[in-house]
Symmetry: C2
Subunit: 240 residues, 2 copies
Amino acid sequence: MPNPTAAMLVIGDEILSGRTRDANMHYLAGQLTERGIDLKEVRVVSDDRDAIVTATQALSSAYDHVFTSGGIGPTHDDITADCIAAAFDAHISVRDDARALLQAHYDRSGLELNEARLRMARIPDGATLIDNPVSTAPGFSLQNVHVMAGVPSVFKAMVASILPTLTGGAPLLSRTLRLMIGEGDIAGPLGKFADAFPDLSVGSYPFQQDGTYGCNIVVRGCDAALLDVAMTTLEAQFSG
Amino acid sequence: MPNPTAAMLVIGDEILSGRTRDANMHYLAGQLTERGIDLKEVRVVSDDRDAIVTATQALSSAYDHVFTSGGIGPTHDDITADCIAAAFDAHISVRDDARALLQAHYDRSGLELNEARLRMARIPDGATLIDNPVSTAPGFSLQNVHVMAGVPSVFKAMVASILPTLTGGAPLLSRTLRLMIGEGDIAGPLGKFADAFPDLSVGSYPFQQDGTYGCNIVVRGCDAALLDVAMTTLEAQFSG
């Protein structure tokens, strides 16, 4: 059975303007690979209702899971929850379970659960809450879309809350052979090697070191024994 | 006149598997912002022909410019040039101008311009070459799509080659007010502030420092005088 597929939707003007460098994509990619869920596409869109709704609908229908990052705080530019609800034509309002979590949290910290903070309890009907052990305000899953915060520490905590509940596949394994040879000198035989192992994916990633070209040959697949055979073949061919 | 719009298409299994952390998106975003070109969307797709062709067509028709990163080297997994040609139904083969550049480069370095390296001279008919001062193999622009390498040093050099040739708009300016106040305490008045300056975009980006919540209020726009007025207003309101 093929692995489940996934997409990620990053929401944030601050990424697109270059002000902030996104950290969540790289983190999620690694976590999904370990769990055997194949991340197939990432989109980054601005804090714009149409852009978020359109991307959510496109990704939700194309992949088994969609993970979003960003736009679920208390301020006016946090519109993700309402956009996800709109994408599925779901009703959204302050929900009692989310409000209770926030009320307990702000009672503990002596802060007021004001109107702005209450926005973080806006959860679509039918959604399941995602636990946030860092700062309480929950994420949620609606159908196959998992809505999480953009702050990296909170995003990581939410990924840890949701991933164990999803059915994964065989983890994707990868092996790397580092060669101090330019890609152009090995491309021909490497292509034949890739053809000889159709169940594995073979990538070549060039680099420069001290003015010399080298490349990392990365072989990926779910079958450890097959990977061993492939790497032995590869080493015999190129490390000679 | 509104600023030109742009999208970026990052091509690479190594990003989606979490093996490599993309660096080109953040770099391009900053460069485009300085030049007054609004980056509206980024997509990351795998080394898959259908995925690349479909994304290229969608982004090319939706935005003024598309910048791609990755997949133009000499190995079997470098399929970007052929996919961009396919997206526009353009013929592609080894082109004399690109071959001459590579021939001179490899003559200088004493390496053979073999069949694999010659793949890097595959350029669609009608495309304009993008200069690569780092490693010679050129990128190209076909219609509104600018095709560049994934290796960050080469990507940066190609961006420097292509950006001055594009018509920019008014550079997007941004000012930041750092507050050691939680977002939830300022969200109400901040929303009213944003409403009072409809020509500016106002974002709030929370952080934690020493266990305390703070946020950066970022105000963006092209009119420096208007930004000054807005920041004075903002400081009077929140810095107390």
